[in-house]
């Protein structure tokens, strides 16, 4: 097995509702969904975000789109509604922090190389 950053395998975007941050993760290839489900556990995500959040983390899966949604409470130092002291008051960059986490993959694992909207087979070339 070898370790690679999540960003080689998946994209993550983040948004806010008050002081709650939601970080959602989408593998570039749906084949990699199980890998993320298995390894991006609440405990592992808490390790990466622990110093930034005060509350619980919930994890939801969306099988229809092969997505995982992490909901982090007390996560934004007040967020926009409490006017956080952070420069990024919405936590728009939190997805990038999640993409910097690492996951384990087999030695012969080949990460996706094509842009996902090109490789999805939706007629775009």
């Amino acid at each position: 097995m070898k370790e690679i950053p999540v960003r080689e395998v998946a994209f993550a975007r983040s948004g806010d509702k008050g002081n709650i941050s939601n970080v959602h993760v989408h593998p570039y290839r749906s084949d990699d969904y199980d890998l993320l489900i298995e390894q991006l556990t609440v405990d592992r995500v808490r390790e990466a975000f622990d110093q930034l959040i005060d509350g619980p983390i919930e994890r939801y899966v969306l099988p229809g789109t092969s997505s995982i949604n992490f909901v982090m409470y007390g996560a934004l130092g007040g967020g926009v509604i409490g006017r956080s002291l952070n420069r990024d008051i919405h936590g728009k960059s939190r997805g990038n922090l999640l993409m910097s986490m690492s996951i384990e993959v087999p030695e012969d694992y080949q990460p996706p190389t094509e842009s996902p909207h090109v490789s999805e087979g939706n007629g775009q070339r």
């Binding site: 080689e8 989408h26 949604n69 006017r83 909207h117």
Partner: protein
């Protein structure tokens, strides 16, 4: 059966009019739906209205309508938008004036009732926290002046009043705080005649609204990731458009000739955006389950969306209550060239911190200070480590919340002095910002306390003989 095509004309307070025009020019588009509000923009608007009673609506309303309205009139597109912000009546007056000056014969509807400040001030309604359910007074312990009344209180209205406005033949519907997705769902409910029993159809329409309400977030904006996700023509990303069927299923696309992408990947990133429990995403019109939503690319920049499920919406409406809460201060300065990072770090540790500790008004700091080096840790803070390279530039930023304006101003001066006069050689680019700080409590309010209404104004073009 017939379809209805709704286009996104805006997804933020400062959303660009050029993008709305491209959507309005698409022949199929019948409704241009425009979200112009967020939690923070509403607070800013309310503060503007307190300063000047004739303001507090969307700041770019005038230039947006002057540019976009002619395109909509020419193409028979009806406009729905939360341009009212904190001052919907005045926003509508402005739109009516602009339409009169342009010589149009139009009906302008104004949706009122989201402003529930009077009810809150009269304390005729018990407010509880949106999530914890605790009484809101309990939460006010963090307010500088706990006896100060709220500045504003706006409830999230749903689609109903917009449906009524469309039924009364409104060409333009101006709203205040209406839930984002409801702005897009309303014309679908109106056109298809969906009622309470059509819960999955409404869920489909709400999903369309959710996918459209953040404009370019659905079409390749905020998605470029070097080496992994590239976006064509990023300089001109088109806003999303949905052709919706009576079942609530839809095909999403964007205007011909615009940049960006509409793909399964672009849409799944918006589907999850700013939702909490995806089995129960609450709105005033429906509670949405998007876990089984399917996105199927059917052609270039065309994606079929299906599978949304609905359950009844919550009994109460969400409400934002804002309180004046001291001042927000931000101050700092920069270095460039070798050793910049070390100069910035030394300035914080050896100059700014000791000065702030002995500052005569330090008891007025009620949040912070936060010490950042921009480019290193000003966003991810303690979750990141210091750089192992010597960056060419470093900026010190200190942020805090302070009780009074005089002390806040003095704090910014103190930090600026520490950077400019006390720190490492070559300090420049000093910044200083002192702004009112508004704290918002998300609460819930029973629907019975929200008195929503629709006013319709018919514009009759003035005739001139010259």
């Amino acid at each position: 059966m017939e379809t209805v095509t709704v286009g996104c004309g805006s997804g933020a307070s400062a959303s660009r009019r050029e993008k709305a025009i491209a959507v309005a020019r698409e022949p199929a588009v019948e409704y241009l739906c425009c979200d112009r509000l967020a939690e923070r923009t509403l607070a800013n608007a309310a503060a503007n209205m307190l300063a000047e009673p004739d303001r507090g609506y969307n700041p770019s309303l005038e230039r947006w309508f002057r540019a976009v309205l002619p395109e909509c009139v020419e193409n028979g597109v009806r406009i729905i938008g939360s341009f009212g912000a904190a001052n919907t009546s005045v926003a509508s007056e402005q739109v009516i004036r602009i339409a009169e000056e342009l010589g149009y014969d139009l009906n302008v509807a104004t949706v009122l009732g989201d402003d529930v400040l009077d009810a809150v001030l009269e304390e005729s309604v018990d407010l509880s926290h949106w999530q914890t359910g605790e009484p809101i007074d309990y939460d006010r312990r963090n307010i500088v002046d706990p006896s100060a009344p709220p500045l504003f209180a706006h409830a999230y209205l749903g689609a109903d009043p917009i449906v009524e406005a469309l039924d009364r033949r409104a060409d333009i519907v101006i709203t205040g705080r209406v839930a984002d997705l409801s702005l897009f769902l309303a014309p679908l409910i109106y056109e298809f005649g969906w009622c309470n029993g059509d819960i999955d159809e409404i869920a489909g329409g709400a999903t369309v609204g959710h996918l459209l309400e953040c404009e370019a977030y659905a079409t390749g904006g905020n998605l470029y990731e070097p080496g992994h996700v590239d976006i064509p023509e990023m300089d001109d990303i088109g806003f999303p458009i949905a052709e919706v069927g009576p079942s609530g299923e839809a095909v999403l696309t964007k205007p011909d000739g615009t940049g960006g992408i509409v793909s399964e990947f672009s849409l799944k990133n918006q589907l999850c955006h700013e939702i909490l429990d995806p089995t129960a995403y609450e709105s005033p019109d429906v509670t949405l389950d998007v876990t089984e939503v399917e996105l199927d690319g059917i052609a270039e920049d065309q994606v079929h969306v299906s599978g949304a499920q609905g359950s009844p919406s919550p009994e109460d409406l969400k409400l934002l209550v804002g309180f004046d809460n001291g001042l927000f201060v931000e101050a700092g300065g920069s270095w460039a060239g070798p050793n910049s990072y070390e100069k910035a770090e030394t300035c914080i540790e050896r100059v700014i911190r000791p000065n702030v500790d002995r500052w005569e008004h330090s008891d007025q700091i009620f949040h912070g200070p936060r010490y950042d080096i921009v480019g290193v840790n000003s966003i991810h803070g303690p979750a990141v480590t210091t750089p192992d390279c010597d960056p060419n530039e470093a900026m010190v930023r200190v942020a805090a919340k302070i009780e009074t304006e005089a002390a806040a101003d003095d704090f910014a001066d103190l930090v600026g002095n520490c950077v400019g006069m006390g720190g490492g050689a070559g300090a420049g680019g000093l910044v200083k910002q002192v702004r009112p700080n508004i704290t918002i409590f998300p609460a819930t309010i029973p629907r019975s306390h929200v008195d929503q209404s629709v006013e319709l104004h018919r514009i009759v073009p003035r005739r001139t003989d010259s």
